[in-house]
Symmetry: C2
Subunit: 373 residues, 2 copies
Amino acid sequence: MKIALLGYGTVGRGVDEIVSARVPQVEVSRILELPDRLTDPRMTSSYEEILADASVELVVECMGGVEPAHTYIMAALAAGKNVVTSNKAVVAAHFGEFADAARATGASLYIEASVGGGIPWIASIEKVRRVDDVTSFSGIMNGTTNYIVDAMRRDGADFDEVLARAQEMGYAERDPSADVDGIDVLNKTIITASVAFGVACEKGLPASGIRNLRLSDLELFAAHGRTVKLLGRGVSRDGRYAAAVEPVAVAADSLEAAVPSNFNLVTLDATTVGELRFYGQGAGSLPTGNAIVQDVLDCATGARRPVYDFSRGLAYDPSLLRADYVYRTSASIGGGEYAPGAVLVRDLTAQAARALLDEALVTDPTTFMAALS
Amino acid sequence: MKIALLGYGTVGRGVDEIVSARVPQVEVSRILELPDRLTDPRMTSSYEEILADASVELVVECMGGVEPAHTYIMAALAAGKNVVTSNKAVVAAHFGEFADAARATGASLYIEASVGGGIPWIASIEKVRRVDDVTSFSGIMNGTTNYIVDAMRRDGADFDEVLARAQEMGYAERDPSADVDGIDVLNKTIITASVAFGVACEKGLPASGIRNLRLSDLELFAAHGRTVKLLGRGVSRDGRYAAAVEPVAVAADSLEAAVPSNFNLVTLDATTVGELRFYGQGAGSLPTGNAIVQDVLDCATGARRPVYDFSRGLAYDPSLLRADYVYRTSASIGGGEYAPGAVLVRDLTAQAARALLDEALVTDPTTFMAALS
């Protein structure tokens, strides 16, 4: 099967490398690149040329960002070409539109690489759903923030120092907002909820990150037998669902606590199979490239033709996701004492907890909040 | 698709329950049972009748044990019927023979449920191998022994007490040998190595269990920041492989250490995807039934038609699997002191370590051995 790569950054090169070394039945015949970077005879800067090439059955979008990725994916699906993408931002923003476009022409959309890197997460959820209902999911879905928290805890270093080191090692972007504010995890949570529950998610799901996490917060939770992990979570029952992203103070002997460095761990619960967990490299050119190549092979062999349908109309119900929350803040927000300088507020929805965090941040912009698992 | 169940114990009933509640495209049309237990119109005690029923496209063997399961599976494959089995003993003993028989008639053999219960382990290894070479695997593959070690550690109870409790709760058999002596894990290790490396395994791979584990051994390792888990492991490189089953003293902050109760955790390492780990219920009627139903659906939809080929002729080379070993023994076997009453013997192959254990057991039948991870 002939495929085209849109973008030739780290991920695109990873796909090209894996395909040429290990997958003889697939050929990367076209690559979309900027006009001043056409260093390979397969490269073109004209997307129209790729669209018009009938021999290209599948387009791999690995440019990142919402535009022009969104326009390119829609054009490929409209032309009946299958699409594989690793781009969580564009899928989270336009999943329903892509699903409709794919169904209209019979093309397939493959998004394994958009969540969990090399972990076979999306395909596993789809497989589970052949037999079971997925009742909940949760996961460490962002390697950068896991690396930061893990290194803070292991080395006794503070947030800024570890973030700077992560940036040097290429684990974090120069602008770390998408990672440390939970935006990347929110995109992955939206995609996971869509696949797991069959719903086009509500805009504005509650999300907070670890920007305000201090070493002293980790020490505070350690004294209670806990450590902090940034988790994306979702629940569905009785035709309703909720989802959120927030730091969670997990038990020190939990599997989440044991996840080192920049690894990911994602968990689902389902009717008959029970709890399933998947662990692996959530990023990197080869693991992400591998997930893309697996999607390409699923398409080439016909092993998997995902059809996404969000017409079930699941209602968003924030009351499904509740926990006790700890706020380390100097703001007066009620609650009882959890530790000196930190209060415990019981039985909040994730949405109410995020609203209370916003309130606390007005008075104390250093406030850190975590749910108790 | 019409299927027949061979055996209607816990697993068979689980499959029947899941299929009738959740999988309308599959029908359990025949069930093989003992002549005095024919309580359902679908039941027969004649396997010939099932074989002769051309409408039955697939046979699910969930009787357990080597015979008559082996004969029944061979007869089904010879008749061109697809076979799904959860029976690790029969697959470990006859995998090569089954693979040849399946290839001869174009039938398919599905064995997901034989390792790791509801965890999609076998299908995931096969998927990984479409792109990568699997270079190693390891795992907690037996829920009973994980439950025993976990309960000993959490409750400060000794082996016999916890084993008795596990037997009461139905987590352990009345004769616990297959679990506590590592035989069950050996079968699963053989099957995993066969699928991961493409090899019909050597008979007599080194295997030892946890029968001699005492609470004081766990305390001894805890003082060194470790806990004990029973692991099946395998390695392959340069056209050679090794595999073994043994207790391993893992780091207290490792993912293995965090696996609670009777859960399983299985890990593989592969060329481009790196390390992948899978966690879930390794036994139980619904998780195992789920794995069987997933295999049935893979067959019904054509999503997966496993073809096993062990003709590559990988050589068994025990030197690939080496570690440092701790022996708690009063026998004189050399080595340096690890702790009072326990010696450390460095850089042994798993095979040499098992031989040294046999030597120590002659003098001190209570000897316990664990590899250092």
